[in-house]
């Protein structure tokens, strides 16, 4: 059966920083939403529904904050949905909003994701003192470091690859005015000399904690026809989940990630992602996840992802740029991070990414993951509408 094509016609972000003490949570989300509306040249009255996402409520200490945010987001009298799928939530939220348009339930939907980590303490929010369950120990890095080790052992990657990713992403962030970290004096040597946090993950190979929000306006074919600027078209979108921990789990390259990518590629008619896709905004909270996800997403054969990174293929001027915006390594308002990937992918195909624009970005993948590498959300956007 036919689905309505979904177009991104408005994108807004806040300037991401460690602490936005000048605005409330409501002020923060409204800033991103207004920016997206301005981009789309629409008003609150044009919005039929609001879909909002963020990672756990404990990060701000507000239970179900969408209730309190209804006024700030112009949702009064409208449907408002609140999505929560751990770190992948920003991507999932965009996909839930896209489904409302694809199903022809609504014509134009505002979707937004945020995190205001300065309101609380994320390390506490991630600590799960539950008996008989595996503790995450010292935050997410402690959970993911062993999986990075497993990847290095399995692929034979030299231990220099992680720092290359961090050095690249932090340089890319200098071209993105919204990025949190702007390290003007960054050098590869500085990344390599930074303290070891969770061996093999160094301080400079780790994402920051940010306050920030990202919003998008999604609309149908008629809405896209009225858009003042070129829309980004959704060519495919999917979510996949698998259990947290079980004997058969491959934590280095989870099956759910492979299946999710395969579903997106099938919808978009992509048969060779390395050839058909021009750039990727990938969820890389720790630098080593770039080579790991390059393999998981089918851009490289198993064990070969690090070679693309090492050869400069993923640089901004490389053959397959990854995280042109600076990525999660430079900006991490957790609940928003997935949506920023999706939005940055859309910016690229709209030709509106400014200094970090990739030339001829016809098809760009936005990718998010969460939980114990168990929740995946992805979309592929293109400069031209889907053909069917």
């Amino acid at each position: 059966m036919s689905k309505e094509p979904v177009a991104v016609v408005g994108i807004g972000q806040t300037k991401h920083v460690a602490a936005r003490r000048d605005v409330s949570i409501a002020g923060l989300v409204r800033e991103a939403a207004l920016s997206a509306l301005t981009d789309a040249e629409l008003t609150w009255a044009d919005i039929d529904a609001v879909v909002i996402g963020k990672a756990p409520d404990f990060f701000e200490g507000v239970m179900m904050p969408e209730l309190y945010l209804a006024d700030a987001l112009g949702a009064v009298g409208k449907p408002m949905l609140r999505v929560h799928t751990a770190g992948s939530v920003g991507g999932s939220t965009a996909l839930v909003a896209a489904n409302l348009v694809a199903a022809r339930v609504h014509g134009t939907v505002l979707t937004l994701a945020f995190e205001k980590q300065s309101e609380s303490n994320a390390m506490w929010g991630l600590s799960l003192p539950i008996p008989f369950q595996q503790p995450l120990l010292a935050g997410a890095g402690g959970f993911f470091a062993p999986h990075v080790r497993a990847y290095m052992r399995r692929s034979g990657a030299p231990d220099t690859v992680g720092s290359l990713v961090a050095y690249k992403d932090r340089r890319n962030a200098l071209k993105n005015p919204y990025a949190h970290l702007h390290e003007h004096d960054i050098t590869l040597e500085k990344v390599q000399a930074s303290p070891m946090l969770w061996d093999p993950i160094r301080y400079s190979e780790t994402c920051p904690s940010s306050d920030g929000a990202c919003a998008m306006i999604l609309t149908d074919r008629a809405g896209a026809a009225r858009a003042p600027r070129p829309p980004a078209w959704m060519l495919g979108g999917a979510m996949r989940s698998e259990p947290t921990l079980f004997a058969g789990k491959d934590a280095v390259s989870p099956q759910a990630g492979k299946d999710c990518a395969a579903d997106v590629y099938r919808q978009a008619g992509v048969t060779d992602p390395r050839r058909d896709i021009d750039a990727v905004e990938m969820y890389v909270p720790f630098s080593w996840y770039e080579p790991m996800w390059l393999e998981n997403l089918g851009f490289a054969d198993e064990g070969e992802g690090w070679k693309l990174t090492e050869a400069g293929v993923t640089e901004l001027d490389g053959d397959l740029p990854v995280n042109m915006s600076g990525g999660v390594l430079s900006t991490n308002p957790i609940g928003a991070s997935g949506m920023i990937r999706f939005a940055e992918a859309a910016l690229q195909v709209r030709g509106q990414a400014g200094e970090h624009q990739v030339e001829r970005a016809g098809k760009v993948l936005g990718h998010a993951y969460g939980g114990g590498s168990q929740f995946f959300a992805m979309w592929l956007v293109g400069a031209r509408p889907p053909q069917s």
Binding site: K3, E60, D71, G77, R82, P243, G248, D259
Partner: protein, 356 residues
């Protein structure tokens, strides 16, 4: 939004429903252990296995569990291997069902498993719910959920819309009806009791309980294969109001009325209504907003005054309404779910069985 208004192509129905008993404490089971039997039960009713399900969506709240990402382990109970197409809302399961309904409308899936659960017993629910209020201006004052509901009840009494005796009768009727519902928590004669927060007495307030519930949705022919008399979703819509109580008329529920209108509830009369009205006075508000006449059977399950498990109570309303259609006890039913203080957010679904 009604189905005819939207895609006009796919009929989607509730084909199975299961719930746990609602209990004041469930110290002996984890959330996953509470959920597992319900998942098995709802799948058994259709003969489906996890791998047959096209889309899975759940609703819950980290704040009840007292820890971040509490839903991630609940997914283990689903048996999500091979990986599943799955999503989660930090809302009552009724909204998870809404997300699943839109997913089926796109044609990406033919069946959906929807579940939700909540354990209120580990904490003090009245305190916990204060954390969902405006975090800067209201939450620091810790106004609790019963106090806020009492403001609404008093506003209704002041407006001449009800009185304490009428409210007491709502509680008594609900618990009397609940005697036929083995899952309900407060059943039979329950004393109206002392004031909790004036004008609300014990009998005007819901019991605090833990529970899980699950529903299976299916589209078109698939629904007919899985269920003898599917409960077709003729329309479903939800709307939210302003958060601040000071800018709302607490004696009315414009969001419930609008959701009902968009769901097509007013196009033809319903014979049954399952309302998520945790406090007796809220039934008064909803009956008016939803234009329910005296001939409509309201809350034959006993409703939220007999069992109000957070995050599942709304999904249970849809499940109870659907089950009545499955059993042939209703032909057209309205199901309602609410969230937020004093009915801030409301969802309405209209379910129909095929003519017999």
């Amino acid at each position: 939004m009604t189905r005819e208004e939207s895609s006009g192509v796919r009929d989607i129905a509730v084909v199975a429903f299961a719930q746990t008993d609602v209990l004041r404490t469930t110290d002996d089971v984890s959330e996953v252990e509470m959920l597992m039997p319900v998942l098995h039960s709802v799948l058994d009713r259709t003969g489906l296995k996890t791998a047959d399900i096209g889309f899975t969506c759940s609703g819950s709240s980290d704040y009840l569990a007292g820890r971040a990402f509490s839903f991630t382990l609940a997914l283990d109970g689903v048996g999500a291997w091979p990986p599943v197409s799955e999503s989660h809302v930090e809302m009552d399961g009724a909204w998870a069902l809404y997300e699943a309904w839109t997913k089926l409308l796109t044609g990406d899936a033919d069946t959906a498993l929807v579940y939700s659960y909540g354990k209120s017993s580990p904490g003090s629910l009245r305190d916990v719910l204060t954390r969902q209020l405006d975090p800067y201006y209201v939450a620091p004052l810790w106004p609790d959920s019963v106090a806020l509901a009492a403001l609404q009840a008093q506003a209704l009494i002041d407006a001449g819309a009800t009185d304490e005796n009428a409210l007491a009768a709502i509680g008594a009727r609900s618990r009397q009806d609940a005697t036929a519902n083995s899952h309900a928590q407060s059943r039979g004669p329950v004393p109206q009791g002392d004031y909790v927060v004036r004008p609300l007495r014990t009998g005007d307030c819901p019991p605090i309980g833990d529970a899980a519930a699950a529903v299976i949705l299916a589209a078109g022919e698939r629904a007919r294969q899985l269920c003898e008399r599917p409960a077709w979703i003729r329309g479903i819509d939800h709307r939210i109001e302003a958060h601040a109580l000071g800018v709302r008329d607490l004696t009315d529920s414009p969001s419930a009325r609008l959701a009902a209108e968009k769901a097509g509830a007013f196009e033809r009369p319903v014979d049954t209504a399952e309302l998520h009205a945790p406090f007796s006075a809220q039934e008064v508000v909803l009956r008016t907003a939803l234009k329910l006449g005296d001939d409509v059977r309201v809350n034959p399950s006993g409703g939220a005054l007999a069992a109000n498990p957070m995050m599942a109570a709304g999904l249970i309303r849809i499940g109870e309404a659907a089950a009545r259609i499955h059993r042939g006890e209703s032909d057209r039913a309205l199901a309602h779910a609410t969230s937020g203080p004093c009915l801030q957010q409301n969802l309405v679904a209209v379910l129909e069985g095929e003519p017999r």
